[in-house]
Subunit: 370 residues, 2 copies
């Protein structure tokens, strides 16, 4: 049910083109996956997502497990049916949010005990429970339950977390019962070269359909982030898609694709939109800025998205200043479309073996906000 | 540029079918006009509005005059262009909100002085200013600046307000310069039969393309509301559309159509949606109700609206409980579609001379929430 075809490797970098087949359709890689935390990409419906060419979305296991509960989703026929989305879905394992969002977290080799950030109710997530929840949710790609350590931990702490992640991956594989879901393991190892290499080698040996790199975008430096990829990738099989979790600025995507990454997800595109920020080829801007008050120009006429092409910045600024929901929706559509357009350009230039030149030209104009 | 064709008068009541032509297209009557207070029907874009068959929308002069100001809208090419809506628009005069929303209101024969509810800035609305603002906004149908008195005023107060409304209407007509906008006067007279009759007769004499009935839905009883229509309608020309301002529950629409009303607007459909309430043929319901938690049924399979047909109550309840914007948007689409469907049924049964029977059958099932 799952197949990954490596279609082209760029001659100028580790960038590559692929095609990932899933029970709900094919995904061209590199791919950006919009995040639908609570079974909805905030403000958008499936028609919106289809209109901008969305190939796969992500949903968050932790949030859905806390409310309404995966049992409810299962009873309603699973995520695809419940949320009216017939294309691929990926769910994370819930581990990252159990560590970062909840209260009174206690980790041991068995699993993670925590209190819900919503109502303080006590929960215990184990690899087995994370798989059970994800089987009830019913996504096409499900993620291993891992321990994602902060950027500043010691090597011994990072090593213990990595070993735990490896042991938990085995337990996830044993717990898994559905054949229509692909389980991706997650490479850990924090900022340590030897650990990242060990973890990549461990995951490379497994019978899985894809491999993720986790523990990035957790507060580390630019160098640490991309070192983590550079250390892991040489040990990962070329025949499997590589998913860099939680990464999604235009510049980070370019840098990661260059290093051989195929899949991305990030809430930033939609979160920025809800705060009135939008991207164009010059970088990031705030729609509330006075300078847009009488600006008749659209966000970006080049993007195949009606939110980008058809509304003046003047009108969008008005909607945002007035706290109108339509502002958030149109900016969300635009920002995700901007990443999709970037990904399209990336795919074109990988095939053309001109990826590095494209990256250089794009970044020479795009002002990165540090 | 404006023409009203009376197409059919029901033999069983005062209900009638008409066709109102405007510079931005034709409107079949009876018609329900969704309210886009700040130049956006909350949460919806023009594609949403078109998808459910919207023929005309309303925007609020007071809100747009306070922010961003009608000068800005004029500079951006007027409301139609600015908000991407190429069908008819109606703007109210701003009077109603100047009275009800703002602070320190002082009324005299010249106009109304008040402080903005947003920033306390001082404003003075006169009939001339209300027309100027509405000419800058550029709607197809604009409304006279009137004094809308509360339901409980004395007859002498109501008479003074009515006379002022008549004098102001003359001033509005003199101030008007654009030939591509139709100015509707507003019948006042509160709960007094002689005043309602006098006001209707006064407005009936004017060279205008349509006539509104105002001062209803301001706290009066059911009897008072429909008496106001019954007293006015016999004195209004059959050849002009009649617009009942601010009315929009299913039962009120039915009762008003029966009495000869052609046009309606109300924020209720969209406001209820944002609070999680929806209509179906049985009445009004709250999506947050526990009973919908596992309910796989859709809101209303009969409505030609994807929000009504394609999402389970279980999923919509989840979205609403999680305060997801998509809940508000889908429920808004549904509630407006419900009124459009009701209007379609009304039109069919007027033509069929079976309006009263339809009304009786609809209301026998539809539970009115008092």
């Amino acid at each position: 049910m799952f197949k990954f075809d490596l279609i082209h490797e760029s001659t100028d970098s580790n960038a590559r083109l692929g095609l990932l087949s899933t029970p709900h359709g094919e995904i061209k890689t590199p791919v950006f996956m919009p995040v639908g935390t609570k079974a909805t990409v905030k403000s958008l419906d499936y028609k919106d997502l289809n209109s901008i060419g969305t190939e796969i979305i992500l949903a968050n296991t932790y949030h859905l497990a806390m409310r309404p509960g995966s049992e409810l989703v299962a009873k309603m026929g699973g995520l695809h049916k419940w949320m009216n989305w017939d294309k691929p879905i990926l769910t994370d394992s819930g581990g990252f949010q159990a560590f970062s969002l909840s209260d009174r977290v206690k980790i041991n080799d068995e699993g993670v005990e925590f209190k819900s950030h919503i109502d303080g109710s006590k929960h215990f997530f184990t690899p087995e429970r994370a798989i059970q929840i994800q089987e009830e949710l019913g996504a096409d790609i499900i993620m291993a339950f891992d321990e994602c350590s902060p950027a500043n931990v010691s090597e011994s702490y990072a090593k213990r977390a990595m070993n735990r992640t490896h042991a938990w991956m085995k337990r996830c594989m044993n717990a898994k019962t559905r054949s229509d879901q692909a389980l991706f393991p997650i490479v850990q190892g924090s900022r340590f070269k030897n650990l990242r290499e060990d973890s990549a080698k461990f995951m490379a040996e497994l019978d899985v359909s894809g491999i993720a790199i986790g523990g990035v975008s957790v507060g580390e430096s630019f160098e640490q982030k991309f070192s983590a990829i550079e250390w892991a990738v040489p040990h990962l099989p070329k025949s499997k898609p590589r998913y860099l979790m939680g990464v999604g600025t235009p510049d980070d995507i370019l840098n990661a694709v260059e290093r051989g990454i195929d899949m991305f997800d990030c809430v930033l595109a939609s979160r920025l939109a809800r705060h009135g920020a939008f991207w164009d080829f010059d970088g990031r801007h705030d729609i509330s800025n006075q300078k847009f008050k009488y600006d008749e120009s659209v966000l970006c006429a080049d993007l195949p998205c009606f939110a980008s092409q058809e509304f003046s910045k003047s009108y969008l600024r008005h909607l945002f200043v007035e706290n109108e929901m339509l502002a958030m929706r149109l900016l969300t559509l635009h920002n995700i479309s901007f990443l999709f357009y970037l990904i399209e350009q990336i795919r074109y230039h990988i095939k053309d073996n001109s990826f590095l030149l494209f990256k250089k030209e794009f970044l020479s104009r795009f002002q990165v906000k540090k």
